[in-house]
């Protein structure tokens, strides 16, 4: 239950930091000779920006209590509407990439820990090393280049031109096809370090004394790997999984921007650049809630998996 004060603290500090910087959204508008200073003043007053920062924060908080995230300065529509539009796409991308990253990295990590020192492990670790070294945006750019050249995958957007006339099922397939490019880019960018983490965890478990005991009992290799070592190697991964959940909205930003996937990444980036206060606050709030939720999920899962935690 400690997460409620945590959220207050987090939002308050981010609010103050944003407002500490000189100027606001309307400062840029002052450059425009067609807008009179009186207009800008009245707009500031409308949005409450003439009040002290503390008052503004509580005004925002009061709105929040009524599930009102405020209005975007630049789009003149409710922030919740803006986010709602993009949230679906970002969620689809993140869930796609998290699912495949874990599905591929975990078994590969285990396999290569078992084959430690052999060519299989060396080859996989080599590729993982390359994957970790190349930044996600470069992978995305290379994939976009590849897709544009070969035309095997659609580039940019979520839909094709014929989308309007398509049936429900065709629409879904079309959406998936568009998701594939950013999805693969993000998966490739994440898979390397997760593989390494799993491999190291598994190796550490294999080096533990209880593995010697398991051998001394005359158990088979399979039982030792998949019962004794795996159960212990998975526990630290659960915490990592919690953190991964918290990054579903922000983790994909770079890839989204480069592959022109209309998700939250571009929206938040523009909002920060143009100092669109309430939009930034809303995205920070969602990020914070996700972080807390992710940790909560991780705590519950760890308690389920590790008896030492459960009984404390």
């Amino acid at each position: 239950m400690q997460f409620i004060p945590l959220l207050f603290g987090m939002t308050f500090i981010s609010f103050v930091i944003i407002q500490l910087a000189p100027g606001d959204y309307f400062t840029q508008l002052q450059m425009n000779p067609e807008i009179s200073p009186q207009t800008i003043e009245s707009m500031r007053r409308n949005f409450g920006l003439d009040k002290p920062v503390i008052a503004q924060y509580f005004y925002w908080l009061g709105n929040l209590a009524r599930f009102n995230l405020g209005e975007s300065f630049s789009y003149h529509v409710p922030v919740s509407f803006l986010i709602g539009q993009k949230l679906k796409n970002t969620l689809a991308l993140s869930v796609f990439s998290i699912f495949f990253t874990w599905l591929i990295a975990i078994p590969l990590g285990v396999y290569s820990a078992i084959k430690e020192g052999r060519w299989q492990e060396k080859m996989m670790s080599f590729f993982a090393y390359i994957g970790i070294s190349i930044p996600s945006f470069l992978i995305a750019m290379l994939l976009v280049f590849f897709a544009a050249r070969t035309m095997v995958l659609p580039v940019g957007g979520t839909t094709s031109v014929f989308y309007i006339n398509a049936t429900g099922w065709e629409k879904f397939i079309d959406y998936l096809k568009h998701l594939l490019l950013p999805g693969i880019a993000l998966t490739l960018a994440e898979i390397g370090w997760l593989y390494r983490l799993m491999k190291n965890n598994f190796l550490e478990a294999l080096g533990s004394p209880y593995i010697v005991t398991a051998h001394a009992k005359g158990l088979s290799d399979g039982r030792i790997y998949f019962r004794h070592a795996l159960r212990n190697a998975v526990n630290p991964m659960i915490t990592i999984f919690g953190y991964t959940l918290s990054s579903v909205l922000s983790g994909a930003a770079l890839v989204e921007i480069i592959t022109n996937w209309p998700g939250m990444g571009r929206l938040i980036l523009d909002a920060v650049l143009s100092r669109d206060l309430y939009l930034v606050m809303a995205s920070l709030l969602i990020g914070g809630v996700l972080l807390i939720l992710g940790n909560l999920v991780a705590d519950i899962l760890i308690a389920a998996a590790d008896p030492r935690v459960r009984l404390r």
């Binding site: 004394p209 209880y210 001394a216 590790d306 008896p307 030492r308 009984l311």
Partner: protein
């Protein structure tokens, strides 16, 4: 008499991350007869645990068998494939370890870990497990408890139950009481004695505590720098030790002091395997050293039931 375990001229080498590999077992010979208990005593780093691990064929990856034979129930197991030897582990020979807290898997219940060791299916496996847990002095609810909920002594009892569940003929106990406090350790030693009697068990008991060795075992092998320097009955070791090293170990026993005496120690330290002294590896610490000790290595010389490696008792040189 049937031999439960026989080790002949066993040599094991250690390959460090950098540098050349070194021999850490340099021709170990020993045997354990049926219902017999042999204590392997010596300082840390003398090769006791390596010997035990070698018998289980559970040497760490950086150690290799070089030469020698290991016979379990008169069957040479050196050339058995891993798959074949797995059938022997836990069935003919079991092992318990120094720190039960880290040698038990933290995420499984004590019961499931004992149960898992049972060879073969068939009904009554759980009942058998619980019966054995009772026999080693644990209540039935321990079956459902996790290792961290048990005390060190209880954990070691679980390990013992795990080792004995298939009625092996031979148990290797690698310093089973070192991580425990004195009273708990006493309980474990008494339990091991009781189990030996009840189950007709032979034991290879590894310890650095010579008084515990004398108390526990009928035969004692004293190890120094990867070799057995003296093998004799417990009484002989205590009353008429032959090897200068044994003599010094025994003279250090607190039982031999009057109150107010200064506690004795053996000067020097265990030699580094990478740089063993030429000749007898004990000579730098030996008060009786002669000219030959600096040049030649003493071989195994028979003395009654046992053996000794020391030029005090003849001039048989190690080949």
């Amino acid at each position: 008499m049937e031999k439960m375990l026989e080790i002949k001229k066993l040599e094991v080498s250690f390959r460090p991350a950098v540098g050349e590999s070194v021999k850490i077992l340099r021709g170990v010979n020993l045997s354990v007869g049926k219902n017999e208990s042999l204590a392997l005593a010596g300082e840390s780093g003398s090769g006791k645990t390596v010997t035990a691990r070698a018998v289980m064929k559970l040497l760490p990856n950086n150690m290799n068998f070089e030469k020698g034979e290991i016979l379990i129930r008169d069957r040479n197991v050196m050339n058995l494939k891993e798959q074949e030897f797995r059938k022997i582990r836990g069935k003919d020979v079991s092992m318990i370890f120094q720190e039960p807290s880290s040698y038990l898997n933290p995420v499984f219940t004590a019961g499931s870990q004992v149960l898992e060791a049972v060879k073969g299916d068939g009904p009554g496996r759980k009942e058998r497990t619980i019966k054995l847990l009772n026999e080693v002095g644990l209540k039935e609810n321990v079956f459902y408890q996790y290792p961290h909920q048990l005390s060190g002594g209880m954990q070691q009892r679980v390990m013992i139950a795990m080792a004995l569940i298939n009625n092996p003929g031979l148990l290797i106990a690698d310093e089973p009481t070192t991580a425990l406090d004195v009273t708990t350790a006493y309980g474990i030693v008494e339990l091991l004695k009781e189990m030996m009697e009840k189950h007709g068990l032979s034991m290879l008991f590894i310890t650095h505590d010579i008084s515990l060795a004398v108390n526990f075992a009928n035969m004692i092998a004293v190890m120094y720098a990867g070799r057995i320097v003296e093998l004799a009955g417990a009484g002989e070791i205590l009353n008429s030790p032959l090897h200068p090293y044994t003599e010094m170990l025994v003279s250090c026993l607190p039982e031999k002091y009057k109150s107010g005496d200064k506690i004795k120690t053996i000067e020097g330290k265990v030699p580094d395997f990478r740089d063993l002294p030429k000749g007898c590896s004990f000579h730098p610490r030996c008060p009786y050293k002669k000219e030959i000790c600096l040049r030649e290595e003493p071989g195994e010389m028979k003395r009654g039931e046992g053996i000794v490696r020391c030029f005090k008792y003849g001039d048989f040189v190690e080949a």
